[in-house]
């Protein structure tokens, strides 16, 4: 039973990877959007708003790259929600539901594909960040740890976007559903230090999930303090994953809507 669920998930993953190859515009958007923000902040605003200790374009690029990487995970959520919603709107999921397939494999294929897509996107964004002056001052172990934190967070956002895609009534609604997430790296520690913000926003910024993730990655890559951020980042990621997984499973378990 478990092995067939795994085999089915791999089959579904292959299907989703093929989709990404055949329909690359979503993948492209996922890289282009964070890169545009990177260029905007480094070259247009970077000369003026570098936070204390990060003046100069290269220093600011180094400061914001963790936030840009978190933004990459957000950019991927739209693609995932859209791909889930259009799958649900087409007849193929109905076909799958009448076949002896482990149900979780249909969602697992999307999640696996989206996480792979996000990781590749993050690698591309990192490469471009290096060109703009981003420099990590860290060991290979810390690189891996940072990658681990980002992948775990991407995994959480992916499950969230799968649930959003299932909850959406139309493909258009699915493409809009994750949009509010884009604002979160900005309302966190992605581009400025949170203590420069007005109290209410600062309070929100310090407690929302993106801040500990960005702080942890920044600490790992550039050697700043991490403190409890790593634990909070992991806890947030696991909580979002679990909550979204349960929500997605409930949505997927319902009888499909009447057509």
């Amino acid at each position: 039973m478990l092995t067939s669920a795994l085999a089915d998930s791999v089959t579904m993953l292959r299907r989703n990877l093929k989709h990404m190859l055949r329909y690359p515009s979503m993948t492209l958007f996922m890289v282009v959007m964070p890169v545009l923000f990177l260029l905007l902040f480094v070259y247009i605003l970077g000369g003026a708003i570098g936070p204390a200790g990060h003046t100069g374009r290269a220093a600011y690029a180094t400061f914001i790259t963790p936030g840009i990487l978190a933004l990459t995970a957000v950019a991927a959520t739209t693609a995932t929600a859209v791909s889930v919603a259009s799958d649900m709107a087409g007849g193929i999921i109905a076909r799958f539901r009448t076949m002896p397939i482990a149900r979780v494999s249909m969602l697992a294929g999307h999640v696996g594909g989206a996480v792979i897509q996000t990781v590749l996107g993050m690698a591309a964004v990192t490469a471009i960040a290096l060109l703009t002056g981003f420099r990590a001052t860290t060991s290979a172990t810390n690189w891996l740890a940072a990658a681990g934190i980002l992948i775990l967070f991407a995994f959480a956002l992916t499950w969230l976007s799968v649930a959003l895609g299932l909850a959406a009534k139309t493909v258009e609604a699915a493409s809009n559903a994750p949009t509010p997430l884009i604002i979160l790296p900005f309302l966190g520690s992605g581009f400025v230090l949170t203590h420069s913000m007005p109290t209410a926003i600062r309070w929100f910024a310090e407690y929302q999930p993106f801040t500990p993730v960005i702080n942890t990655v920044r600490g790992l890559l550039t050697g700043g303090p991490i403190g409890r951020n790593a634990v909070i980042a992991i806890a947030w990621s696991l909580a979002i994953t679990l909550g979204s997984y349960l929500w997605a499973r409930k949505l997927f378990g319902r009888d499909p809507a009447r057509t």
Partner: protein, 343 residues
């Protein structure tokens, strides 16, 4: 032949199947039995509940009540077992448009855990059988409607299911593709597979099915073989057209015909027997025996048998009445349907 079911049950047995969406009753408790290796057609207009029936029996949605077994497996308690023996082709394309025809079939083969060699063999077999070999490397999105339907059917057959559901398999197809799909269904039927299809075309049910059930507003209003159903309404009629009104009225007198329903009974020789089937079908009785003064036509109910026709023509001849035109109308399933639904 299909492999025997665990219990010697019919392929599909349904009792009291009910389904409502909010206030709207879709299925009001239907009972039906489909035997192994037969073709069963669920016939009805749009909104009758055909698709809902297929969706429930194919484990896609849950019924509100009722029992069903497929190949002996209980629909409510053993849906996973049911899924192993069925194949479903829905009303809308259920192929992956971003994959090629070949990839779609291989996807099915992988999900049914066929071994790689067997998967390739089966895929090649089906592409050949459905005339899709040439288009195998093209994305399904580029297929015509007829090709997509064929791909859909081929995908359903990858696992060689015992019971196949086809929900309006020819809706939206051009006449040639429709013929192709019919031939596929006939070939499948002759290979011993049990087929449950829905259609709004009476001709299609007549062509393909050994058993037909008529569904209207979530209720089965009749069930039987095509012939049995045709016998449920009064026999056919002939329509005689005359050149002028006086000939028409003469003919009406000669044929012992007051134009009313009562008179028509006199002609019911061959028809009377069949009327036993039409017990509840009041509306249809008013139909025979219409004289149309405008069109100068007279409809005379008959079984359509040659002696009966000869009798009618001889009587007209004896009185020197010439009919300008004669058409014979034999009952088809359209008549049954229109009669029974009261439309």
């Amino acid at each position: 032949m299909t492999s025997p079911s665990p219990r010697a049950a019919p392929a599909i047995a349904v009792t009291g199947l009910r389904k409502s969406y909010a206030e709207h009753l879709v299925l009001g408790g239907i009972d039906l039995t489909v035997h192994h290796g037969t073709v069963f057609a669920l016939l009805g207009p749009n909104g009758a509940g055909k698709t809902t029936t297929v969706q429930i029996l194919s484990t896609l949605i849950h019924a509100d009540g009722g029992e069903a077994t497929l190949a002996g497996y209980d629909l409510n308690r053993e849906p996973a077992r049911v899924r192993e023996v069925i194949g479903v082709t829905g009303q809308y394309s259920a192929a992956d448009k971003l994959l090629t025809g070949w990839e779609n079939l291989m996807l099915m083969a992988d999900l049914y855990h066929l071994r790689r060699a067997r998967a390739k063999e089966r895929t090649a077999e089906l592409l050949e059988q459905f005339g899709l070999a040439e288009a195998a490397g093209k994305l399904a999105a580029t297929y015509s409607g007829g090709m997509q339907r064929k791909l859909d059917l081929a995908m359903t057959l990858v696992s060689e299911p015992q019971i196949i559901f086809l929900d309006e398999p020819t809706t939206g197809l051009d006449p040639r593709s429709r013929r192709t799909v019919w031939q596929i269904v006939k070939d499948l039927a002759s290979s011993g597979v049990t087929i449950f299809l829905t259609t709004q075309y009476l001709e299609e049910a007549d062509q393909l099915a050994g058993q037909i059930a008529l569904l209207d507003h979530g209720t089965l209003i009749a069930q039987g073989t095509p012939d049995e159903l045709k016998r449920m309404i009064p026999g056919g009629h002939i329509r005689l057209r005359f050149t002028d009104a006086s000939t028409l009225s003469k003919a009406r007198a000669v044929l012992g015909w007051g134009g009313g329903v009562g008179a028509s009974r006199g002609w019911g020789g061959g028809v009377g027997a069949s009327r036993g089937w039409g017990g509840g079908v009041g509306a249809s009785r008013a139909r025979p025996g219409k004289a149309d003064e405008q069109a100068l036509t007279l409809e005379v109910p008959t079984s359509g048998s040659v002696p009966e026709l000869r009798g009618i023509l001889t009587r007209l001849d004896d009185h020197g009445i010439d009919a300008a035109e004669l058409t014979v109308h034999t009952p088809d399933l359209d008549d049954v349907f229109l009669t029974l639904t009261g439309n």
